[in-house]
């Protein structure tokens, strides 16, 4: 990375903050010794596979399992009617809606679960699925949320009762409508645009799966599963099943990527539990890729109308946004309960202006549940895409360089903490420095000259900027909960007598490297070498309760809990050291993993010596042991930011967009591990690049998913993925114990508008104002053709 100096206070051997410590989890992965869910098999285990609907909306007239049950090894076929007897055919979603486990009468989207086949073997279960005959009567399908809102549209969810005889789920708004209207009316310049952000799918390379293991003798259920939030799953399971929560153990193993897709409770998990309860044996369910792409929860699907007002010089004065959110047939989003549209009202972005109003309406359609993340904090990508597109449109509209317009509208460093017109308090930031750095890295002014020369020759080259502000680390308990559970997170640290450390955290890694970075936080705070610190997570029997890993909340929340728990240990260590050194605690100073007497550096006790004393020589009146727990309730969210600049060339013959260069300058506050931070940014950028140019889950008018395999859902390969160029600025969070902000998702949030802005920048002179992502060759060619510049 092109770099700022990352501060370190420990040696590389200790490996505290700022060191690029090699990952502690890697030795097992590089040897093929990771343990992912499908690597685990239990004695006596059965297999479950799922019959799915070919129709997006249909009545189930009958299910005939007789042929399936004739197959040797097929043990049971579970249908909605079976579940209904136990009241298990519906389950609550994390958003407070409800979702079918299996339908009793009507299927609501293509690939919805219709029946579960339990068999002795993976292959036989698949044969059983093929042999189950389901008689459907197709019903009219609604795929367009705008049509779903029209008067007289068929009501997709009659179960909500006669008082909700429409497809409108909720209305949510933020800001001051009257003030925004007034400011817009007074604006010299108004730009408005419709921006659609399509459905996309996280498509982690590992799909979802579980093994449900019911122990009838002890009345105990263990659910081994792919979950980003095991504790929340345990609580939901207890509420749904009626099993006592202390008799439920949710255990994750290694997880092959999450990105938000492993937060929800899918019917498959519940069906495996039912199958295990029924058979008394462990039951394994592993999704295949088509099931994953067709039936798991989706992200985005936001129809945004935005209007920006400004002075004629380009000073932004106001923003108004109206959005329709397609949630599919149920609202199964994993947003905090007071935020049905997530943190979408961070849409005022990095800019200082007084008036804004945002409203969102959630709508049902015949699609699988939408509204989970795709590597982004609750709806922040949608917000950033809209504001960064609108700012670019404004710049082009008034003929001002988009970088210059951003510089003139940025919230300035001295304005922090900054209160936004929609109510957020940004903790810190330095936006001009990040943008200037990105411009210098990429050679912005030279690129503009090159662009002018190329345009004169008829070549299409574009430069796009995105100067985003993220909002992560949910969140303060006064505002943030999911199903009533506050969004704190936790860490428990135990120091063993020989100076080795075990820490357990309430968050769950899916590749972020928690076993390394959380050890580094403890190493920083207590001076134990990273090699002596083990981090555990993902077992609800042992780890402290936490809401899990998503929305870039691990470091902001559980990372803070870890630092605070370590500091509690250090406080006790001070008392122990004072006892050992026969000194007053206040006369001791901490440094390099030891307490020493002020002015007498030779009189010191190392943390290892102190740990031993905690079990062998603690003072009378003090509890033995050296351990601490912290449940951290963040005082505010954190606000990572960055500026990205992208250069594209467009093939006038085919409409293909090539990203020639991409510079990303990120600021995530203090950095725990620069190597891991860069890795997170590389991955995040690629998951921003992907929906900008390739990925989309589209439906035809019958509700058929057109991208249900990796042959049509196009994850970028190494060939087209740009060689990312990264840089940093460091603006520590003032309220976070270690000044960190979270970084896993910044790049996914920030990258798409940079690419979209670059493509539009290449075409603005032809009269192009907006192109919705993904900017596929066929879509871009259509525009080139309309504008008469296609070859």
């Amino acid at each position: 990375m092109t770099d700022v100096q990352v501060r370190t206070t420990t040696t590389l051997e200790v490996g505290g903050m700022g060191h690029s410590v090699k990952r502690k989890e890697d030795p097992r992965f590089i040897r093929g010794k990771g343990e992912y869910i499908d690597d685990l098999n239990l004695p006596g285990q059965l297999w479950m596979d799922i019959v799915r609907s070919p129709y997006a909306h249909a009545k189930i007239l009958g299910i005939d399992a007789s042929e399936a049950l004739k197959i040797p090894g097929v043990l049971a076929v579970v249908t909605g009617a079976d579940l209904e007897k136990a009241g298990l055919h519906w389950m609550p979603t994390l958003a407070g809606d409800k979702q079918m486990v299996l339908p009793t009468h009507t299927v609501m989207y293509q690939a919805q679960e219709v029946a579960a086949v339990v068999a002795t073997d993976r292959y036989i279960a698949a044969d059983g699925v093929a042999a189950v005959l389901v008689d459907y009567e197709p019903l009219p399908v609604i795929v367009d949320p705008k049509k779903a809102l029209e008067p007289g549209a068929q009501v997709l969810r009659p179960d909500r009762g006669p008082e909700k005889a429409n497809n409108h789920i909720w209305h949510w708004e933020s800001g001051d409508r009257a003030a925004a209207d007034a400011a817009l009316a007074k604006a010299d310049v108004r730009v408005a645009e419709d921006i659609y952000i399509p459905r996309i799918h996280v498509a982690s390379i590992e799909t979802c799966g579980c093994i449900a293991d019911w122990d009838a003798v002890n009345g105990h259920l263990t659910l081994h599963m792919t979950s980003q939030a095991p504790h929340a799953i345990r609580t939901v399971l207890a509420l749904v099943s009626g099993l006592p929560e202390h008799k439920i153990r949710v255990k994750t193993h290694d997880i092959g990527g999450g990105f938000g897709g492993k937060v929800p409770v899918y019917p498959g998990y519940v069906l495996a539990v039912v199958a295990s309860l029924t058979t008394g044996k462990p039951v394994k369910w592993i999704e295949d890729r088509s099931e994953n792409l067709q039936a798991d929860s989706f992200a985005r699907d936001y129809h945004i109308h935005a209007e920006l007002g400004a002075t004629k010089e380009g000073r932004i004065t106001s923003l108004k946004v109206k959005t329709i959110a397609d949630h599919g047939y149920t609202d199964a989003a994993a947003d905090p309960s007071k935020f049905p549209a997530g943190l979408f009202n961070v849409i005022t972005g990095s800019y200082d202006f007084p008036d804004a109003f945002v409203e969102v309406d959630g709508v049902y359609t015949n699609k699988p549940p939408g509204g989970v993340a795709y590597r982004c904090s609750f709806r922040v990508t949608e917000a950033v895409h809209a504001i960064e597109r609108m700012v670019d449109i404004l710049a082009h509209e008034i003929g001002k360089d988009p970088a210059q317009l951003r510089m003139e509208n940025f919230i300035q460093p001295e304005q922090f903490p900054y209160k936004t017109p929609t109510g957020w308090e940004y903790d810190s930031g330095n936006y001009p420095v990040a943008l200037r750095k990105a411009m210098d890295m990429i050679g912005y002014e030279d690129l503009r000259r090159e662009q002018a020369e190329k345009r004169a020759r008829g070549e299409l080259m574009g430069i796009g900027i995105s100067s985003f502000t993220e909002i992560v680390g949910a969140g303060p308990s006064h505002t943030f909960d999911i199903l009533g559970i506050k969004m704190f997170d936790s860490c428990e640290i135990r120091v063993h007598p020989t100076g080795k450390v075990m820490a357990r955290i309430g968050v769950q890694t899916q590749g972020q490297g928690h076993e390394t970075t959380f050890a580094q936080i403890i190493a920083e705070e207590l001076g134990f070498p990273v090699a002596d610190i083990a981090i555990e997570y993902g077992d609800t029997d042992t780890a402290p309760y936490g809401l899990g890993t998503y929305a870039s909340r691990s470091t902001p929340v559980a990372g803070a809990a870890t630092a605070i728990a370590a500091r509690k240990i250090r406080d006790k260590a001070r008392l122990l050291a004072a006892h050992l050194l026969e000194a007053n605690p206040d006369d001791l100073e901490w440094g390099s993993g030891a307490f020493s007497v002020k002015g007498s550096p030779d009189k010191k006790k190392t943390i290892q010596e102190i740990a031993f004393a905690a079990y062998t020589n603690h003072p009378q009146g003090m509890e033995a042991g050296l351990e601490a727990v912290d449940y951290y309730d963040p005082p505010n969210l954190t606000f990572p930011f960055g500026s990205y600049i992208c250069v594209v060339d467009i093939d006038r013959g085919t409409g293909q967009v090539k990203v020639r260069r991409f510079v990303a300058v990120d600021d995530c506050g203090n950095i725990i591990n620069p190597m891991i931070v860069d890795g997170q940014i590389h991955g995040g950028l690629t998951m921003g690049f992907a929906p900008a140019l390739y990925e989309e889950i589209a439906y035809d008018e019958l509700g058929n998913n057109l991208n249900g395999t990796f042959m049509d859902y196009l994850l970028p390969t190494a060939v087209e993925t740009p060689a990312w160029e990264t840089g940093k600025t460091i603006t520590p969070s003032p309220h976070h114990p270690i000044g960190a902000k979270g970084v896993g998702e910044s790049a996914t949030v920030g990258a798409p508008p940079a690419i979209a802005n670059a493509v539009v920048d290449a075409l603005w002179h032809l009269g192009v104002r907006n192109i919705d992502i993904p900017m596929t060759p066929q879509k871009v060619w259509r525009i080139l053709n309309e504008k008469g510049v296609a070859l």
């Binding site: 196009l714 390969t717 087209e720 596929t776 066929q778 060619w781 053709n785 070859l791």
Partner: protein, 291 residues
């Protein structure tokens, strides 16, 4: 994704394979590399009763020049073809096409014969072999016939091969001096099936005019085809941008694409023209350099 049950046989000789195909006519399929057939079986879109694995039949993977033509054993993999010195030296069109099929692992195992016999409407080889005016050797019990590639590809997944036949060899005439070939493929992403693929083989005369030309197109009809009208337009003409455009338009008139995730019909027709122009330009440059 689990394939349905089937019987499996791994004959040691071609005759044994042909006997198996004859005895289970209609329900037996030949398994070569498997990279075309097995995905269809996993999705249960193909359910053969018997797979005849010719993976161990000797003598089906040779690559050699005989009587002025290149003979490629049906079981030669895309990768082996792309890396073969003979191909590299004299058949740049074949090398270019072979090196761009699928991805490296698919090229390691996917075979030219399997790909041609499978006849996916978006596969690369059928366009290339037609552009080169090649032919296929088909064997059944006691009979061997050589079938021209042009006319062999009939429909989606349908060729002139009989259920009791095995495609054993692909033959391509050796190009002479002042010839050049190019395969250009428009993909949505690396490794994707083509949106449009165009194979061009240009033979220039001593006067610099196009003496002969072959144009094969894939992914824009129910079966890959040779663009005969475009070839007619080019034959005898000077290789100019205008002429290439005229040929591209002629090729587009012959194409019958359908709308799918790669794009609507008008886009695909335009891409036929654009990619045909590019293939011709590249092939001509190579022919000019091959004086």
């Amino acid at each position: 994704m689990i394939p349905p049950r089937f019987d499996y046989a791994r004959p040691a000789s071609l005759d044994e394979a042909l006997q198996l195909l004859a005895s289970r006519e209609g329900e037996a399929k030949v398994l070569a590399g498997g990279f075309s057939l097995l995905p269809l079986m996993k999705y249960r879109l193909a359910q053969p009763g018997l797979l005849v694995d010719i993976g161990r039949v000797a003598g089906l993977d040779a690559i050699e020049e005989v009587d002025g033509e290149l003979r490629i054993g049906a079981r030669a993999t895309h990768g082996a073809i792309a890396g073969h010195p003979l191909v590299a030296a004299r058949y740049p069109l074949i090398r270019e096409a072979a090196g761009g099929i699928g991805d490296p692992q698919i090229r390691n195992w996917g075979t030219i014969g399997g790909s041609c016999a499978h006849a996916d409407p978006a596969s690369d080889w059928p366009a290339v072999i037609q552009a080169l005016r090649g032919s296929f050797v088909c064997r059944s019990l006691g009979r061997e016939r050589v079938v021209a590639a042009r006319g062999f590809f009939l429909d989606v997944f349908t060729t002139g091969i009989e259920p009791t036949e095995v495609l054993t060899q692909v033959r391509v005439p050796r190009p002479g001096p002042r010839s050049g070939g190019a395969y250009v493929k428009l993909e949505r992403r690396t490794g994707d099936f083509a949106t449009v693929g165009v194979a061009a083989q240009v033979q220039l005369g001593a006067d610099g005019r196009i003496a002969e030309v072959g144009l094969g197109l894939t992914a824009v009809a129910d079966a890959p085809f040779a663009a005969g009208d475009a070839e007619d337009a080019l034959r005898g003409a000077l290789p100019t941008a205008e002429k290439f455009r005229e040929a591209g338009l002629a090729a587009a008139r012959q194409a019958r694409p359908t709308e799918d995730r790669h794009g609507p019909v008008d886009y695909k027709l335009t891409m036929v023209r654009v990619m045909t122009e590019r293939a011709l330009r590249l092939a001509t440059e190579r022919a000019q350099a091959n004086g």
